[in-house]
């Protein structure tokens, strides 16, 4: 957990950096958390919520996975000493 001693951006800074991203329909940013992952490694979790529409399909999944990579691209600009995760949960 020594990496937590290094400066990391505040949640608000990350939120501001993510704000310009275009989100798929029905998707909203739900949470940004700085906490340990399942190995206890310092991590940042960005969680998006999506509206269940009963017609979930591979195209929609692809849009969410594309968003995942765009979020990680933004996080990488901070050069964080953290593991980075993007999760999707239903609203």
């Amino acid at each position: 957990m020594a990496a937590l001693a290094q400066p990391v951006p505040l949640e608000a800074t990350i939120r501001e950096a993510l704000a310009p991203l275009t989100l798929p329909a029905g998707v909203v940013l739900k949470a940004i958390e700085l906490r340990g992952n399942s190995h206890g490694e310092p991590s940042v979790y960005v969680t998006y919520a999506f509206t269940p529409n009963g017609s979930f399909n591979d195209d929609y999944a692809k849009k969410l996975l594309d968003l995942q990579f765009r979020v990680l691209d933004v996080l990488r600009t901070f050069r964080l000493p953290l593991f980075e995760y993007v999760n999707f949960v239903e609203i």
Binding site: S38, F50, L65
Partner: protein, 167 residues
């Protein structure tokens, strides 16, 4: 069919098998199988690359030495740009985007697998499970495009040696 491919098929089957409200156990196992599909794909590729074919049984013994946590740390390193020095010295050009995708999917899936297998408060929906299945399928597709590259060779070797690759 290789175990990894079986697990990938099983993951989608479990996520979609229930016609009504899906069983939580099926959705959890779908996420877990999605992760293990990628886990076994990468181990099989690494063993095929670095372990002699004989004597019979050697490859399966070596396959058991791969460690989830160490593989996750290697994957995290391969998502960084620039690469950490221990890899940049061999790959000064960096790694292809498709290899970065594989590494990213692995880390994301492993974290999800821990929730699915161990966290009793985790209640995934079918769509949430299907996102994980789709990510494993995308990882397989991405891997097929770069599996014969030098960067993939370094990646697989690093997965095998894990934390011992420190300098």
């Amino acid at each position: 069919m290789p175990l990894a491919d079986d697990l990938l098929i099983q993951a989608r089957m479990l996520a979609t098998v229930d016609t009504g409200i899906p069983l939580q156990a099926n959705l959890r196992r779908a996420i877990s199988s999605a992760y293990y599909a990628l886990f076994h794909l990468l181990i099989a590729e690494a063993v095929d690359l670095i372990v002699p074919k004989k004597p019979v049984g050697l490859a399966s013994k070596v396959a058991r030495t791969f460690a989830h946590g160490e593989m996750d740390r290697v994957c995290n390193d391969f998502t960084k740009s620039p690469l950490p020095e221990k890899f940049a010295a061999i790959l000064p050009q960096g790694v292809p985007a498709e290899l970065q995708k594989v590494a990213i999917y692995f880390s994301q899936l492993q974290d999800a697998r821990h929730l699915a297998d161990y966290d009793t408060a985790f209640n995934p929906t079918r769509d949430e499970a299907l996102i994980r299945v789709a990510s494993a399928e995308s990882a397989f597709s991405a891997w097929r495009t770069i599996q014969r590259t030098e960067e993939a060779t370094v990646f697989l070797t690093a997965l095998a040696f894990g934390a011992r690759w420190s300098k």
